[in-house]
């Protein structure tokens, strides 16, 4: 990962967005999906992902489903109704942030 601090504030938005596109996902799948989508540029650390998932779950934005896969249990996450609404507003916030940053670092493009 090039700069983890820059991505840190967007972790929740990334998780919500991925779940809105893929329905239900499990932790490991999320880390791999982010790696694939960013071609290895962004690597979500395990130590940050699970605490974030559990926090979103406690806030009522995510719902949990446990299923038996192979010879082990797997915990899937999916968006709740309020999670779906939150995703929209989080993405808007992020888009505005990106726009503002662009204005700041590259005024000519804006």
């Amino acid at each position: 990962m090039s700069n983890s601090k820059l991505y840190k504030g967007s972790l929740n938005t990334i998780i919500l967005k991925l779940l809105s596109e893929n329905g239900k996902m499990y932790g490991y799948e999320i880390t791999q999906k982010v790696k694939d989508l960013t071609k290895g540029e962004l690597n979500i650390t395990e130590g940050a992902l699970y605490p974030a998932l559990h926090k979103l779950e406690a806030e009522g934005l995510l719902d949990v489903e446990i299923a038996k896969v192979d010879n082990r249990l797997r915990k899937y996450y999916k968006l709740t109704e309020s999670g779906t609404k939150e995703t929209v507003s989080k993405l808007q916030e992020l888009a505005e942030y990106i726009k503002t940053m662009q204005n700041l670092v590259n005024p000519k493009l804006a």
């Binding site: 499990y26 932790g27 490991y28 650390t45 395990e46 130590g47 940050a48 699970y50 605490p51 559990h54 926090k55 779950e57 406690a58 949990v64 489903e65 446990i66 896969v69 192979d70 010879n71 082990r72 249990l73 797997r74 915990k75």
Partner: protein
């Protein structure tokens, strides 16, 4: 190559050794480690299980599973409070609200009576004994459940957290008793105290009696069909 049942058991033991006591947290970490190890084996089939596990564990950073565990505990605490508040709210519906009104009036009359200190003190003692008995009984019940099943975090909170609330309630009631010493209680004072006492009684009854009785239902709701007692 897929992990065997024996490997999965080893992973559970590994998480337990790294201070992950709760089965619900373990199962998620075990699945994560297992996926990581299987992915490594795809790249390098000669790698031993132990080596692959060590590599995966390192990805969690120097604090290991600590952040995951503490965040899960916070989240589950929140979930418990949510269950508690929902149950308390039930008491404000008809017909349960009648018992609240009766309780409130009883406390109010007590605070306004000449004998308020004697009555409140007796209530305090009786209620304290009931709470101590209940929390002792819950601890015993929890131990009994423990010997036959896995450790689920929510179950621990339902049976053990209750005593935390008990402690807060006891301290608060004690402070209130000190407040009543000496001077006569005003109407506002009596209303306020009666309200606090009523709420303390309801919260204690919900946390020490109602929620533990509903434990299996709440556990099923949270962990679905994977809770086996």
């Amino acid at each position: 190559m897929k992990l065997s049942q024996e490997h999965i058991q080893q992973l559970h033991d590994f998480t337990r050794k790294h201070y992950v006591e709760w089965f619900d947290v373990q199962l998620e970490l075990v699945d994560h480690l297992a996926n990581g190890i299987e992915a490594q084996w795809e790249q390098n089939p000669k790698l031993s299980f132990e080596e692959a596990l060590e590599k995966e564990f390192k990805k969690f950073g120097i604090f290991g599973f600590m952040d995951v565990v503490s965040q899960t505990e916070n989240s589950m605490g929140r979930k418990y409070r949510h269950f508690l508040i929902n149950e308390v709210k039930e008491w404000f519906k008809i017909p349960q609200i009648l018992s609240i009104i009766v309780l409130f009036i009883m406390f109010f009359l007590t605070f306004k009576s000449q004998l308020s200190e004697v009555i409140i003190l007796s209530f305090y003692v009786i209620f304290g004994i009931w709470m101590a008995y209940k929390s002792f009984a819950l601890r015993r019940l929890f131990k009994k459940r423990r010997s036959t099943s896995k450790k689920w975090l929510l179950e621990h909170i339902i049976f053990q957290q209750a005593s935390g609330i008990l402690f807060i309630a006891i301290v608060n009631i004690f402070n209130m008793l000190n407040l009543t010493n000496g001077s006569e209680t005003s109407i506002y004072g009596a209303v306020f105290m009666s309200l606090l006492f009523t709420i303390a009684v309801i919260v204690s009854v919900v946390s020490l009696h109602i929620l533990p009785n509903k434990a299996d239902q709440l556990l099923k709701q949270t962990y679905h069909s994977y809770v086996t007692n």
